[in-house]
């Protein structure tokens, strides 16, 4: 059983390929996308994705726009922003739009795994709470 199911979004192909291999070794289930639009497509097809690692600066739909879209369509999925162009402004913007955290490229792989685990845990807790609430509601209705 993998630690978490992750969608990795970045326009740099070699980066995505290598980090996929490294994260897979660390027991993460990785799905790759090379643009914002592709990421949204992949999410539509793979609902089991828990955490999205998203590059901020991409041609076409950029990280912030993609984040907004993801949060609109999949509010429970957690997003970790990853960028080389680290600016406080972008970070604040990302966090404000509901990103779980923000990491600068290049980042330590173990730190990234830890963040992904935390994000997945948060997502699961969130889902559990919702499930609990739903069960309670059903139970209450039966009573």
């Amino acid at each position: 059983m993998a630690l978490a199911s992750v969608l990795l979004v970045d326009d740099e192909i070699p980066f995505v390929e290598t980090i996929t291999k490294r994260l897979t070794r660390r027991n993460l289930d990785i799905l790759a996308a090379y643009s914002g639009d592709e990421a949204l497509e992949k999410l539509k097809a793979h609902n089991d994705v828990e955490v999205i690692i998203l590059d901020v600066k991409m041609p076409g739909k950029d990280g912030i726009e993609t984040l907004e879209e993801i949060k609109r369509l999949h509010p429970l999925k957690e997003v970790i922003m990853l960028t080389g162009h680290a600016t406080v402004e972008t970070a604040i913007e990302g966090m404000r739009l509901g990103a779980f955290d923000y990491l600068m490229k290049p980042c330590d792989i173990d730190l990234l795994v830890a963040k992904v685990s935390d994000a997945a845990a948060k997502k699961r807790r969130h889902e559990e709470k919702i499930l609990d609430a739903q069960i309670k509601e059903i139970t209450m209705r039966r009573v």
């Binding site: 740099e12 070699p14 980066f15 290598t18 980090i19 291999k21 490294r22 070794r25 600066k57 991409m58 041609p59 076409g60 950029d62 960028t83 080389g84 162009h85 490229k105 290049p106 792989i109």
Partner: protein, 565 residues
């Protein structure tokens, strides 16, 4: 550079000249006007004062002479009335009376004579031997017989010396006789000439025929015409005085003050050289001219010194401004580099991240050991990737450095197309992220032109950055083209961004005008571009339609070599 200095020198020299002319006009005009008016007024009133003074003097003198003549006449009349013809016909009696007169009254009487109706001098007392002299044909005798008393003009007479006589007619037993006295000409002359003012002023008397009755101090030939005019002017004499300023035949300007005396028979004339009479005035005039000259000299000196100083200050300020402009251009270049660097930082970060990850991957595989099947291939692949990404980094830094290192702003031969390609290449990464497509349509075989490469690079960088800033949100298309005009290179930079509103269009080249948020733009970019293009003797124009886009057109003169410039 030398040419620039020479043209600057000419400019500053003409500036000095203009300031000097202005200062001179502004200072001299009122100075001359005021001085002229004051001098004219002073001259006028002073001349009037001199005229009045001389008039008064001559009037007094005329009265003196008149009184003198009347007094002498009275003495003779008294003598004629007091003593009978018989008594006076006695020469010793007459001599006694003459002595009495000379002692008691005045030494002016030279002699006395008693003349009968036939004009025979029957008695004579005096220094000449004139007893028995016959005057029946003498002018004075004829005139004296017409009037109860008579004062003659000066004549030589029998004694052949200038003199004049006072004659009184009386009757003895129904027959007229005349008592006459001769007046000492020298003494009378002295009396008339007693009025002397200045160095040239003197008085004399002429009769109605213009003949001198006293001895003039100078040769009177020069003044003959003037004296004739004065005699003719009898009717116009106001208050018994006539004052005229006339130039005599020798060219000297004289002041004539004339007054008739002896019931209009004689004219007392006072003559003085105008320069002498108005000596004080002339002295004042000279002093004023000296003062004006000194003042003028001071103004001239001040105008030259002051204008030179002012222009030197202006030149210094210009120099400082030029330095400041240079600094502003440099700042703009740094800002452009800064903007570029931000894009490049991202660009370089990607290969660095890949290298770090590949290195991490090798580390991961090392934990398994090198013997593991396929690991060696993976190491090789990863190392190759690291090499590739390292090269990518090198290229990126090389691009940035090639831009930033170009600090040489010297004018040199530049191929504009190559420069555009270079700048487009530098901006490509930013364009990719901003979703901007850059298309170039460059005229082939564009000749090289003389310009500062760094400055032109800065202009192009600014134009492209601005276009991308404008299109960043929605993306767009940027078209850069070059074409060869007549001795011109025309660069067009056209975007299809939101365009510039008409209200802002007029101000885009104004320094510090910006529509970007605070901290994002200095408002100097286009102002600097404008300055650079103008310095190159080129033109920069903008055409923009809101919603359609903006086109910047840069027209540069084609300069084949430095000599042409």
């Amino acid at each position: 550079m030398t040419e620039e200095k020479t043209s600057n020198g000419l400019y500053y020299r003409s500036l000095i000249r203009n300031i000097v002319i202005l200062v001179i006009i502004v200072s001299f005009t009122p100075m001359f006007l005021v001085s002229g008016i004051i001098l004219y007024q002073f001259h006028h009133s002073y001349s009037e004062k001199i005229h009045d003074h001389l008039g008064e003097l001559v009037l007094n003198h005329k009265q003196n002479i008149d009184s003198f003549l009347k007094e002498k006449l009275k003495h003779i009349r008294f003598l004629a009335k007091s003593y009978s013809f018989e008594e006076l016909s006695n020469e010793s009696f007459l001599q006694e009376k003459l002595s009495n007169l000379q002692e008691g009254f005045s030494p002016f009487f030279v002699d006395l004579g008693v003349i009968n109706e036939r004009g025979v001098q029957i008695a004579y007392a005096g220094p000449y031997k004139l007893g028995g002299a016959v005057y029946s044909e003498a002018e004075w005798f004829k005139a004296a017989f017409q009037k109860p008393y008579y004062i003659s003009d000066v004549f030589l007479g029998l004694r052949e010396l200038p003199h004049f006589i006072i004659a009184v007619q009386e009757n003895w037993r129904g027959r007229p006789w005349i008592l006459r006295a001769t007046i000492d000409f020298v003494a009378f002359n002295t009396l008339v000439q007693s009025v002397r003012i200045g160095e040239t002023g003197f008085a004399f008397i002429i009769n109605t025929q213009g003949e001198c009755q006293t001895r003039p101090c100078l040769d009177m030939d020069d003044s003959k015409q003037v004296l004739a005019d004065l005699l003719a002017d009898k009717k116009n004499i106001i208050r018994d005085i006539n004052i005229v300023e006339k130039t005599d035949t020798s060219g000297g300007k004289n002041l004539y003050v004339a007054s008739f005396l002896k019931d209009g028979d004689w004219l007392l004339v006072y003559q003085q050289a105008a320069s002498d009479a108005l000596a004080d005035l002339n002295r004042t005039l000279r002093l004023t001219i000296i003062l004006l000259a000194i003042g003028g000299l001071a103004i001239l000196t001040m105008a030259f010194v002051l204008s030179r100083r002012v222009v030197m200050r202006i030149a210094k300020a210009d120099q400082e401004k030029q330095m400041m402009n240079k600094q502003v251009v440099e700042t703009g270049r740094l800002a452009a580099i800064g903007e570029l660097a931000a894009g490049i930082a991202h660009e370089i970060n990607n290969p660095v991240a890949i290298m770090v990850e590949e290195a991490g991957w090798i580390e991961d595989l090392m934990e398994e050991g090198t013997e593991q099947e396929g690991n060696m291939e993976e190491f090789k692949r990863a190392l190759k990737q690291i090499q590739n990404q390292g090269r990518r980094c090198k290229e990126i830094t090389h691009k940035l450095l090639s831009f930033a290192r170009k600090t040489d702003s010297r004018v040199q031969s530049v191929q504009v197309n190559e420069l555009i390609e270079e700048v487009v290449n530098l901006s490509s990464q930013r364009a990719r992220y901003a979703n901007v497509e850059i298309h170039t349509n460059l005229q082939p075989d564009l000749p090289e032109t003389q310009m500062s490469m760094t400055e032109m690079q800065q202009v192009l960088m600014n134009m492209i950055n601005n276009a991308m800033d404008a299109m960043e949100k929605k993306g767009g298309r940027l078209d850069i083209s070059t074409e060869l005009g007549k001795d011109q290179i025309i660069i067009s930079i056209r975007d299809n961004g939101p365009g510039i509103p008409a209200a802002n269009l007029a101000q885009i080249f104004v320094p510090f005008f910006t529509t970007k948020p605070v901290g994002k733009g200095t408002g100097l970019g286009l102002a600097i571009c404008y300055g650079i293009i103008k310095k190159m003797d080129g033109e920069i124009e903008v055409d923009s339609t809101v919603g359609k886009g903006t086109t910047f057109r840069i027209v540069l003169p084609l300069i084949k070599n430095l000599e042409t410039k």
